[in-house]
């Protein structure tokens, strides 16, 4: 029994992923949602039936289904909800990609170095990471907005400031345990140089963790962006961003209920899809991380 578990812990990523996809059901719904999101983001002008900023007072406040050319209805200014949602996907994907990408890069590099070198660099960066992890993100974001003003840069910076820490912490933990593995010791004994050891032995074995955290963080990033936009601290009002759309609908919720409903559903479904996918990936790749 124990050997079977050990065998699972030490498998190559692609092989295990392949084997698990055969045995374990892929979260098809999640994958489907993620694909739709990506298609909407990449090809918004082609997918959207209308220009999201096109104002037509005559068609204002159309309820969903009332006019088939506007399947999800229109807002007060007569802008098409569906098109705005599709362009909103673009905003969401862009911000998540940039913020998460830089966060992952910075965090991974710091984590690798901190874990490998230990000493003062490790002490300082990990204390900072602890502080960044616990500290209320919105507060950080608000301070940044006060300094830089509202806008995409502020959102990205706010996300970056918290996301790097999660990557750094987890990757460092991985490095610390991999460093003590006998295969690393064997490589040192054989005279393999340090950069080669990091590149061949340590980094490839952190990739599982990297993928898992990334997919679990996407949801958090989307939520954060939406919250900031909702509070008016993100993109300028009127832009097609889901958080802003919820906020725009808030005042008229009793009358035009669909304005807030649909973007909220969009956020929830997308975040749900990424979380499920992350959970699935974690279970498939690394059951040790169940607590993440």
């Amino acid at each position: 029994m124990a050997t079977a578990i050990n065998a699972e812990l030490g498998q190559g990523w692609w092989r295990i992923a392949y084997r698990r996809t055969r045995n374990l059901k892929l979260p098809w719904i999640s994958v489907f949602v993620m694909l739709i999101l990506l298609v909407c983001a990449a090809f918004s002008p082609l997918v959207a039936p209308h220009d999201p900023t096109e104002i037509s007072i005559l068609n204002g406040k159309l309820a969903p289904g009332e006019n088939l050319s506007y399947p999800l209805g229109t807002d007060i200014l007569g802008r098409d909800m569906l098109s705005r949602l599709i362009y909103g996907a673009r905003t969401t994907v862009f911000i998540s990609l940039v913020a998460l990408g830089t966060g992952a890069l910075v965090g991974t590099v710091i984590g690798l170095v901190a874990g490998f070198r230990e000493g003062w660099f490790d002490a300082i960066t990990m204390r900072a990471a602890d502080a960044a992890l616990g500290f209320p993100t919105i507060l950080v974001a608000m301070v940044i907005v006060v300094i830089l003003g509202a806008g995409i840069e502020s959102i990205i910076l706010a996300v970056l400031l918290t996301v790097w820490a999660r990557f750094a912490r987890m990757i460092r933990g991985d490095v610390l345990s991999i460093k003590d593995m006998d295969y690393v010791v064997a490589a040192r004994i054989a005279g393999v140089s340090m950069p080669v050891i990091i590149w061949r032995h340590i980094f490839p074995n952190t990739v599982n963790t990297l993928m898992i955290i990334t997919s679990l963080q996407v949801g958090q990033v989307i939520l954060l962006e939406a919250s900031l936009s909702f509070l008016g601290l993100g993109l300028p009002v009127g832009e097609p961003a889901w958080g802003i759309m919820v906020s725009e609908g808030k005042a008229v919720i009793l009358e035009v209920w669909w304005l807030s409903l649909f973007p909220g559903i969009a956020i929830t479904v997308v975040v749900l899809a990424f979380n499920y996918f992350g959970d699935w990936m974690r279970d498939a790749l690394d059951p040790k991380l169940r607590r993440l």
Binding site: T137, M142, V143, I147, L223, I253, L272
Partner: protein, 305 residues
């Protein structure tokens, strides 16, 4: 143990210092504070005088130290918008937020821990599925949106609950629930997974082997070990309730510091921003310190180090 607390304490103080620098810098980066305070009718002379009065002619580090000294004494200055002392405004608003956060925190623990335990013990039953669904939804749905939808449902359509402002007990129900949901979901997930881990351990197996009834195996041997990680998390949740409270206070028109902060930002009211941000920071630092001490206390392996 002492060392551990000391390290955390230093870390907290550094966090607050960094935060104070950030808010201090923010007021200097985004324009000239003196111009700000002066208003539209001020003359060049008034301007110079004002600068001297509030020490803006001194070098930046000195200004920061003066600022820090004031802050430590609880003096955040006067709001140029309302003309009131920022500290007084803060103190006026603080109870509303603390009450809401407290109510949400209680809800989080009272519902979250049992649901997590139940979900793990009754694994793969209807309890587990409900627990898991609830947890996943709590993490995925944005709280501000849930709040709006609940207002629509319970306030507008059903008319059962008040939807804005602070008042009787019924005013707390919706905001406290929405505020607690995210953290509650996190606790459910965490307790569930750590409970599952603990149920797999040798000492739980041995507790069964020696003939303890299942109830004791779960509620004595497994629970304490499973709740220890949840404790740290719940501390973070409490600190993080400030996170959610800004949006919730906005949606429910709750007169707390979250809304105050947002107002401050929109009006570029720096004394208010500084006061609220630092108060929130202090709250976070204190809470996480208390939780760390508590954690060390319930975990004998750390206590005896």
């Amino acid at each position: 143990m002492q060392r551990y607390i000391l390290v955390r304490l230093t870390q907290g103080v550094i966090t607050l210092l960094v935060l104070s620098m950030a808010v201090f810098v923010s007021s200097h980066l985004t324009g000239d504070p003196a111009l700000y305070l002066l208003g539209a009718e001020g003359t060049q002379e008034d301007y110079e005088q004002l600068k001297k009065n509030i020490g803006l002619d001194k070098p930046l580090p000195v200004q920061y130290l003066v600022f820090l000294g004031n802050v430590v004494r609880g003096d955040f200055g006067t709001s140029p918008i309302t003309g009131q002392s920022a500290r007084d405004t803060l103190m006026e608003r603080l109870p509303a937020t603390l009450e809401l956060a407290g109510a949400a925190f209680l809800l989080t623990l009272i519902v979250g821990i049992p649901l997590g335990v139940l979900s793990a013990v009754k694994r793969d039953t209807i309890f587990d599925h409900i627990g898991k669904f609830f947890a996943v939804l709590g993490i995925a749905a944005p709280s501000f949106w849930v709040a709006i939808m609940l207002i629509l449902l319970f306030g507008a359509i059903l008319g059962w609950l008040p939807t804005f402002g602070r008042g009787g007990i019924d005013h707390y129900i919706l905001p406290a629930f929405v505020l607690s949901w995210g953290g509650m979901a996190g606790i459910v997930r965490l307790v569930r997974s750590s409970m599952l881990d603990v149920l797999d351990t040798e000492y739980v197996k041995f507790a069964r082997v020696k003939g303890l009834p299942e109830r004791m195996v779960i509620y004595k041997h497994a629970l304490k070990n499973a709740v220890i990680p949840a404790l740290t998390f719940s501390g973070l949740t409490l600190a993080g309730l400030l996170n959610g409270s800004v949006a919730i206070e906005v949606v429910f028109a709750w007169p707390g510091i979250g809304r105050l902060l947002l107002q401050g930002i929109n009006q570029r009211d720096f004394p208010i921003i500084q006061a609220t941000v630092l108060a929130a920071g202090l709250f976070y630092v204190v809470v996480s310190l208390v939780v760390d001490i508590l954690y060390a206390y319930v975990n004998p392996r750390i206590r005896y180090e």
